[in-house]
Symmetry: C2
Subunit: 322 residues, 2 copies
Amino acid sequence: MPLDSQNMLQVIKDFPKQCREALGLPAGISVSGEIKNIVVTGMGGSAIGGDLLKTCLSNTNIPVYVNRDYKVPEFVNENTLVFAVSYSGDTEETLAAFEDAQNKNAKIIGITSGGKLADECSKIIKIPSGLQPRAALGYLFFPMLGILHNTGIVRVKNDELNEMVDILKKTGEFNDAGEELAKKLKEKIPIIYASEMLGAVALRWKTQINENAKMAAFYNVFSEMNHNEIVGYKGMDRKFIAIMVRDRHDNDRVKKRMDICKEIMEVTTDVEEVQTQGNGLLARIFSTIYLGDFVSYYLALWNRVDPTPIEVIEEMKRKLAE
Amino acid sequence: MPLDSQNMLQVIKDFPKQCREALGLPAGISVSGEIKNIVVTGMGGSAIGGDLLKTCLSNTNIPVYVNRDYKVPEFVNENTLVFAVSYSGDTEETLAAFEDAQNKNAKIIGITSGGKLADECSKIIKIPSGLQPRAALGYLFFPMLGILHNTGIVRVKNDELNEMVDILKKTGEFNDAGEELAKKLKEKIPIIYASEMLGAVALRWKTQINENAKMAAFYNVFSEMNHNEIVGYKGMDRKFIAIMVRDRHDNDRVKKRMDICKEIMEVTTDVEEVQTQGNGLLARIFSTIYLGDFVSYYLALWNRVDPTPIEVIEEMKRKLAE
């Protein structure tokens, strides 16, 4: 195995532990006053945590807006709960959006391991430092969910959490399945698909493949891709590989669309299917994310790159500071 | 030139005329009662109209939610204005979401050329039929903007409209620039980038290339792509080509990020830049969309495919009906 890639493997393997720990962080913390909408502002993995939160709140009547920008939306006001999420606490976009949210008198909770955000935000959930931000998704996501549970905005059942934790315990199985699937993705351009509901899971796979394996990857959702992207398959070839996240709770029409698309895609490209595990939403989301993390790790090994450092992003930060 | 591709070329050339016509459609139509948020429900080009509306309303305090699904969000109620947008009026997802919005007592306006939506929605803007839905973006978008102008939610200045119309008049220049750029995209995998603000423009390019040229294309936004996708360029090669939409109104940090990324990308792939035209938001958006339409048309010719029919989508509809 090349370089210090063992480190990332251990961090991935420890993800279930991270989730259990993260669940305890918001104990006793809630938000008072009327909340009319929620904005999660962050970039990369922090924003994906926001997308997942939106999915988890999709059966409540509180709109969740995920903001990947230097400003928060104009509608933000004193009845908006803003989660400012930055692992380092120094993400430039998130700090600017945090300041904008302050000027708009939002209720703000920071989720960070330190940095300026920890200094400047009066209410924060402090998460452990020392990880790559993308490896801290559990810490970045579960505190938000816990606070909204404590506030009465969403009800997270213990059964649902226990189911997720029990499934994630099967680390060896995820590891092996991830290694197996990675072989099929080697030297290909993966495009990951899921339902609109699980779009953030597909996005997570894409970004993990980008960052860990240092290769191109894309994603899209059903049924939107039926209206345009599917036409592109006519001009594609077997350097692409489509990965479809299948979920037993998908809308029946979406299931049928996925079946039909698979046939269409297979004429020109390869297609693999991945099944979510469990019944509850959290189990289905995080089991699939966990598998994707292993896939991206083993793809890095196939590509003979170290999954941990992301030199390009470090280079960009240096140049941005010039 | 192959097949009946002339038809699509003429429709693209007529886009400025379509925009002028579409601006007149909502004359005298407004919405009464309190509007707390707006949902645009539609798929493909109809949903992109929603994304553009969101951009145009970004300096108002009315949240706009673009919905590409069979249901509308749970928060939809009698204070939500829902635009149900479907060119044919028979888009299955949009009809289902329309029904869901009715059950939630939303104020609904349909934008369609006919179909079930025209039959079932009591308040519609009827747009001309006979086009490919993706070629009707002007008809799908401007009626929404006009109604919101009439309702006092957004103020569209005549100067801004005139600037857009004047720029779009230069059809020959757009045609030639589109043909030129298409040459560079031939046999490549284009990835189109824009700022978060103009993300819908990049998405429109991507979908037009998918549908007209029948080839793979992807998109992403700045600065989100800096946090993951850029790392993938390390493993990419010159079968990819990045196209960056540059806008003089981009945030200065985004401009710097684009400059830095261009350098990083050019190590492994080709990069082309496209400049928005004009000062007003509408001119900048639609000048760039107009160019992209020509690019996708000429790419179809290079690929020796007919830009007009989208057999795959027709095939899918047939199989879905089985």
